[in-house]
Assembly symmetry: C2
Homo-oligomer: 431 residues x 2
Amino acid sequence: MTFISAIGSRVGEEIELKGWAYNFRSSGKIFFLQLRDGSGRVQVVYAQDALAPAHWDALRSLRIESSVIVRGTVKKDDRSPTGFELDGTSFALIQRAPEDYPIGKKEHGPDFLLDERHLWLRSERQWAIQRVRNTIINATFAYFNENGFIKFDTPILTPTSCEGTTELFEMPYFDEEQKAYLAQSGQLYLEAGIMALGRCFDFGPVFRAEKSKTRRHLAEFWMMDAEAAFVEHEGNMHIQEELILRIVKEVLEKNAYELRVLERDVEPLKKVQAPFVRLTHQEAVRQLRALGSDIGERSDLGADDETMLTEQYERPIFIEKYPAEVKAFYMKRDPSEPDRALNNDLLAPEGFGEIIGGSQREDHLETLLARIDEHRLSREPFEWYLDLRRYGSVPHSGFGYGLERIVGWICGLHHVRETIPFPRMMNRLKP
Amino acid sequence: MTFISAIGSRVGEEIELKGWAYNFRSSGKIFFLQLRDGSGRVQVVYAQDALAPAHWDALRSLRIESSVIVRGTVKKDDRSPTGFELDGTSFALIQRAPEDYPIGKKEHGPDFLLDERHLWLRSERQWAIQRVRNTIINATFAYFNENGFIKFDTPILTPTSCEGTTELFEMPYFDEEQKAYLAQSGQLYLEAGIMALGRCFDFGPVFRAEKSKTRRHLAEFWMMDAEAAFVEHEGNMHIQEELILRIVKEVLEKNAYELRVLERDVEPLKKVQAPFVRLTHQEAVRQLRALGSDIGERSDLGADDETMLTEQYERPIFIEKYPAEVKAFYMKRDPSEPDRALNNDLLAPEGFGEIIGGSQREDHLETLLARIDEHRLSREPFEWYLDLRRYGSVPHSGFGYGLERIVGWICGLHHVRETIPFPRMMNRLKP
């Protein structure tokens, strides 16, 4: 079986393709079929004279999204967005779609399209987004493989809210008395993993029962967490930089067509080069205030602050050393400035904002106990986590990215809902 | 920083390693330290004469699982299981573990070890299992990448029980009225994916609220589902065979040391070659009865039947064309025997039994509607799925494997609980 993605090596040959009628038009005795097969799209040009009458009739009865088998001779065509075209020699329907394919050329609202998500995925933009998402996933696996990170699948069903948040999905676990909570991050478990395996990453769905409807939030999304023993704050940022460079490079190499479909200006992506911009939180606040933000000296950055800041630079921005009180209990403090964490966020350019959060972790038992108390968390659920500081504690660091935010940035999308096959939001659990 | 896995290229050099004291013993003025760093294990041999007195004292005060920094000169050592040894030149403690490391050399019961899972992972067998698991995951990604399959992340939170099973975890979704169910498989969503992308796979956690405590069941486990448009029953089995061959080959190549740690006889793994054994369900039943099983003519195989059958062959066994009534509604029937499904299971040798289930899918709308009715399922939740047969239906097939069963087979483990970092079972939600 031949895929459209591979026809470049078959110029001059007659080949068979199977796929779907993405679009078509006719002009007298010529019929232009846009065929898609999942791997790509190609135009098949049929001349009535060159075709058996039954095939021509079948073409004339064609409907959008019908499944078809075509034969034709491959030729190079520089006017074609995909570089090739087929001179059609035969045509057959597999299954004829009803006339009223629900998604047309007219504008549809987002609710309609999300109701029809199982079909909307076929439109070329949605196809392109999923292909870019796939490249990002694979570039991540490749980078971690080459750098000694082992995939370590952390649990989704957890006995407690580890970070004291209220945005957890809760459910009965085998009986009504026992509750399980859906994980929001695998980080704490990954820390156990690296004490066994040195370097680990996980990559799976996480859940947030957040009652907000912003363009950047989903109730279920894919999170990649990485953690490494004997890596400190600086080394942690170096790994993040290398990973993001690798992802952008692979998308530019492998998804040029998809980025054109998405009308994504690739120039800003080409400018994603090392070294990334580095600002301390203090420097970032100073710049933001000069730009007109009313951000407090010791506040976390808001989404508007992030946007404002990224518009000042062409490269991604590390912001490091946040005030410890706005960050999680497990972050190690900066020894030279103990009220600040040895952490960083990474902001994507062009207004996209935060895509990564990371930090060195507190590795000293007594200090970590004090942090748990300061954050008014109960010690008991953390006993196993504290064991990691009791038995052979080592300096270690990690970070996580939200896959949908990376996809959104690289594809240039305003809303994360298009970045995942079947988005789940407060008012959206179907299909 | 140097990893133990890479010292083979540093013979004759003095290097620094960071890791944990896995074990040690002394003999007069010689101290033997087993160092592990996550990437591997190596013996460091210290002679008192060659060491600063403070370093020697630190060594003598060492406790199991303390974190340490060592320096030494790499030498080849053919008696060593890992091939190399270090002549120690310096030693420092990072953090000294308390005397009573909970996991000792004595036998521990499974409940104790599962309570201490965050530490148990450090033992060499558990380390080896996770490394093999990682290779299996990567071999799967590599195979699918090279064969045009796109990763397509299907949702965990779903609005309904798609297959009418009762073993679902249920939870409130944002309000008490609306219920969400944790997915047991991404298959139906993958079928939507391939109509857009041609070939897809997913790989993520799935959930089963099964009140059973067998050695083959977990409440949360990792499932890989693959689906391909224009692939029929025969082609589907071909893909499964290629994938399993690839997985076994990569583990044999990359995890020879880990398999030795696990005392896994690799000869049976080396015999996993194409073509796999192929039996129809009818043939399998005939053989089983001859072997003394009381299996019914039209029954599914039980675990004991699977074990018995796999002991007759050295290669994995495809069993195809089960009686339709014991299989799911979405499976296409065999046109030449309409009471049988175009499906297959794949049984791993040496008694391990089912690791894959797959089938061609019913692609005809009216037939699928009839099946839904026969299985007494409600049509409404399947409307979106039925759309896939309304708009450009094509022949397609797919299959899924349970990662923990594959890991269990390849590592030669009796119980799946050791195959996943943090197992979840009916009575086990911690740590």
